[in-house]
């Protein structure tokens, strides 16, 4: 039995410890927002947070998440205080980022991990954090501007479920 927290909830998984976290999330936990794209850490569609870091869940065995805090797209909005969307989700809507939308859970989770450590990323930082996420619909310039729009949104509060402490991040 593997124990972990997913989006703030304690979960137990009765699965082979070698099973990739991706399939445990999608099939065992029935949370389909996290997507399968390649299975070999090449596309980023399966990106989730493990203890606040963006990871590729398709190559991460559930055993590696034992006792950890996992955040998926379904829990992204809860990373910020209050009701409503994460500022990145709002920016994604404002900039009309998604086309087919299939890559966007992974894009948002990668972007959220970036902003959590670098609240005002420049182009090079965005390139570095986002190059692992393929968008076959080619919405890169919109993703870039949406990250900047979200970063500019003032006084975004990031909530780290690992410590349950609210930390104020200021943005220029």
């Amino acid at each position: 039995m593997i124990r972990l927290r997913v989006n703030g909830r304690d979960r137990e998984l009765d699965v082979d410890p070698a099973m990739p976290l991706l399939w445990a999330i999608r099939e065992q936990l029935a949370m389909p927002g996290t997507k399968f794209g390649c299975g070999i850490a090449q596309c980023g569609a399966c990106t989730v947070h493990l203890n606040g870091n963006a990871i590729r869940s398709c190559v991460t065995p559930v055993a590696a998440a034992e006792g950890g805090e996992v955040t998926t797209i379904e829990g992204l909005a809860d990373l910020v205080e209050g009701e409503g969307l994460h500022p990145l989700q709002q920016a994604w809507i404002d900039e009309q980022v998604p086309q087919c939308g299939y890559c966007q859970s992974g894009q948002l989770m990668s972007a959220a991990a970036l902003l959590a450590t670098n609240p005002d990323p420049d182009d090079a930082a965005i390139d570095a954090a986002m190059a692992g996420n393929v968008c076959r619909c080619g919405m890169y310039s919109r993703i870039r501007s949406a990250i900047k729009v979200a970063a500019r949104a003032s006084a975004v509060q990031f909530f780290d479920p690992a410590t349950s402490e609210v930390e104020e991040a200021s943005h220029g």
């Binding site: 399939w23 809507i93 939308g101 299939y102």
Partner: protein
């Protein structure tokens, strides 16, 4: 509206409860009532095939187009909102179910045939355009960039205008005032004299039985309030919180998961499989043998795919087991040489005396261009979920052609189409790939064999290795120049003729032209790939034109403009792209700028591309795209399509190559079938030109022009002429 208003019959019918149904039909007949129960919920009134008004005065567009991110649902909804005069907040979209009554193939078909007025009786028998692509007579396809320009223009707008007029007439009778003093406004009919108002919902029933006008009056562009505005896409909110349900997300009670391995060489068959080690593995339910594939059905996808890897499979031998890409290109070259040297070929265009022009040419330019096979690599791998029992079959899938899938699945199961139900989902990319029913058919066969509902998911490796590919093609050119550097004659021969038929035809004025093609069949399956034949011919013709301009000592932009003297619309698009792209500037060594012009799917697109060589690596800095689509229903949606089309074409031009090795596809996943990523994506500036000409497509026209502009820019930067894609094969290490 031309021919289509006369051919598009507006039909009415009375539904249970005395409500009104209006449809725009290609053939006469009361077809709307037949399908009413499929699209109406309790308490809702069907007002047209494309319109549903519920008790809350919500106007729902029902149209047979699927959403793969191209914004079709939103653009079509805008068209209806404008014609019927409803508030945007009152609008919704519902995709039409996969029923014959909703088939839009007649519209798409007629459109692709150049608005030909096809007699009704002939329509189902024509074997052309879309028919070859889908291999099905029953079509309900989203492709060919037809949503807005065919269904929207000929169906949705007419339906909306007809519905508005019916509602006004109903109010006129109810109030005893002339219709001329009534207007539709904000989902109400308003009396302009005394200001009284009645909602559409309140009038729908009263409109029942009224005869619709055969020629409802459509709005003029000056009257548009919603069309031409960038409305937020209806599907976007669900795509930022993980709630959008794609085919791969379907949940069916009791379902198992399937992983599949198909014969690596196309055309090979399954001979035998040793599954003794696998049957006992934890979670494995069954090993299913198909004609050309082996499948493991298990409790989860991961167990299924792990078990699949452990199988010992024997495939039949085929005559293609030794084939390589080199063999195929050698075959293409031989076919072209034969056609060029007087062998058999089929003519696309023949004008003037080509041989005479070459006989007294001041100079000639000859070249052969080549492109490789390309996979679609939709972000969502192919998948389908199916349940089969004695009564019928249900399939959960994202498809560009729900009705076609219904017929193909039925045929594969030996059932009637009526026994098959397709549950449509969002598509994680389509690009033409999801018009092929292969994975849906497999899912149905597997579910039947396994005796349980099954979700079949292809691995990315299967997706890359068992696509229906943009074909590998070679195209051979020769041009005769006169003393002033003008083109006297243009000859082009190629193979792989699909759609659109005009793809290889250049817009430039050349007195003597011969464009012809031959066959050079291979064992690699073909499928429509974003922009179809334009994806190769856009590169071939425009890249070669650049080469000819250089050979003639002329500026590629100026030469195009001079040869488009009788085409001001083309000139305008090209000029605007050139101006925004600073055409004519002098650039340092290692920096280059290229240009292209492409007409496809009714839209004109010019692109100017800037590149530089950085440490031996080619970098694409900026792309300027000017598009004249006639009219942009949603400017931001069109801009997004240009960005998308450019990146899709750029990925192909830089990296895209599916190679054949020992009869099978060599590439397998994103590490060796590379995609352009964030750090390589250029700035893209889009210019929209609303010329007022016939409305063109948006989803595909951005793709063909990037490759030729790119090789033109590479030549400008380095003097290296690239005639074979992808560019990744070039070595730029000498160039800074």
């Amino acid at each position: 509206m031309g021919k289509w208003t006369r051919r598009a019959f507006i039909t009415t019918g009375v539904l249970a409860g005395g409500a009104l149904a209006v449809g725009v039909a290609i053939r006469p007949g009361h077809r709307a009532p037949k399908v009413a129960h499929k699209v109406t919920d309790e308490g809702e009134t069907l007002v047209t095939m494309w319109v549903k008004i519920d008790q809350n005065n919500r106007v729902t567009l029902i149209a047979p187009h699927s959403e793969m991110g191209q914004g079709a649902h939103t653009a079509l909804t805008q068209m209806l909102a404008d014609e019927i005069d409803a508030r945007w907040e009152d609008m919704a979209y519902q995709e039409a179910p996969a029923l014959d009554e909703y088939a839009n193939w007649a519209l798409g078909k007629g459109f692709l045939l150049g608005d030909a007025d096809v007699p009704d009786a002939l329509v189902p028998t024509i074997d052309g355009a879309f028919m070859k692509i889908t291999k099905a007579m029953k079509l309900q396809i989203t492709g060919g960039s037809t949503s807005v320009r065919a269904t929207g223009v000929y169906g949705v707008r007419v339906a909306g205008a007809a519905a508005r007029e019916l509602l006004i007439d109903a109010a006129s009778e109810a109030w005893g005032v002339p219709a001329s003093q009534l207007i539709a406004q904000d989902t109400h009919i308003v009396d302009t004299v005394d200001g009284r108002r009645l909602s559409f919902a309140g009038l729908a029933e009263a409109a029942a039985g009224r005869q619709p006008s055969a020629t409802p009056s459509l709005k003029t562009p000056g009257e548009f309030r919603v069309m031409g505005q960038s409305k937020p896409r209806l599907d976007v909110p669900s795509k930022v919180d993980g709630t959008a349900t794609f085919g791969i997300d379907a949940q069916v009670p009791g379902m198992k998961y399937a992983a599949i391995k198909a014969a690596p060489v196309f055309g090979a068959r399954l001979v035998s499989v040793d599954s003794s080690d696998v049957q006992a593995m934890d979670g494995v339910h069954k090993v299913v043998e198909l004609d050309d594939a082996v499948v493991v059905v298990a409790d989860g996808y991961w167990q299924a795919s792990r078990a699949l890897d452990g199988l010992q499979i024997t495939w039949s031998e085929t005559e293609n087991d030794a084939k390589s890409s080199d063999d195929l290109f050698a075959q293409f070259d031989a076919s072209l040489a034969q056609a060029m040297e007087g062998g058999e070929s089929k003519t696309d265009v023949e004008e003037g005396d080509v041989e005479l022009a070459f006989a007294d040419a001041a100079a000639t330019v000859e070249a052969t261009y080549r492109v490789p096979y390309l996979a679609h690599a939709c972000m969502e791998p192919m998948n389908a979920t199916a349940r089969v029992d004695g009564q019928g079959c249900e399939v959960w899938v994202g498809t560009q052609n729900p009705l076609g899938f219904r017929y193909e699945v039925a045929a594969a199961l030996d059932m009637e189409a009526e026994q098959v139900e397709i549950h449509q989902h969002y598509m994680g990319g389509g690009f033409g790939r999801r018009s092929d029913a292969d994975s849906a058919i497999q899912a149905a066969l597997i579910a039947r064999a396994a005796g349980v509902p099954v979700k079949l998911i292809w691995s990315r490796e299967e997706d890359v290795r068992h696509d229906h590919y943009r074909p590998a093609v070679a195209s051979r050119f020769r041009v005769a120049l006169d003393r002033d550097g003008g083109i006297k004659a243009w000859e082009n021969v190629y193979h792989e003729k699909h759609e659109p038929v005009e793809a290889p035809v250049i817009p430039y004025a050349v007195a003597a032209r011969k464009i012809h093609h031959t066959d050079s069949p291979t064992h690699v399956p073909f499928g429509p790939w974003r922009s179809v034949d334009h994806s190769q011919h856009g590169f071939f013709t425009e890249a070669f034109f650049d080469e000819v301009a250089v050979a003639a000592g002329r500026d590629p932009y100026e030469m195009r403009m001079a040869m488009l003297a009788d085409k001001p619309r083309h000139q305008n698009v090209l000029r605007q792209a050139a101006e925004r792209g600073n055409w004519g500037e002098t650039l340092p060594r290692g920096v280059g700028r290229g240009i292209s012009l492409q007409e496809s799917f009714g839209s004109l697109v010019a692109q100017v591309v800037d590149v530089h060589i950085d440490n031996g690596k080619l970098k694409v800095d900026r792309v300027v795209v000017a598009i004249d689509p006639g009219f942009a229903v949603s400017p931001d949606g069109l801009t997004a399509q240009m960005e998308s089309g450019v990146i899709y074409g750029l990925t192909a031009a830089l990296y895209g190559e599916v190679e054949i090795e020992q009869g099978a596809v060599k590439q397998s996943n994103f590490h060796n079938y590379r995609m352009v990523r964030m750090n390589e994506a250029p700035q893209i500036d889009t210019i929209i030109i609303n010329s007022g000409e016939a409305w063109g497509g948006a989803g595909e026209p951005g793709t063909p022009g990037i490759a030729p502009a790119l090789v033109s820019a590479v030549f400008d930067a380095t003097g290296v002429r690239v005639r074979e894609l992808p560019l990744a094969k070039q070595d730029f290490s000498d160039w800074g």
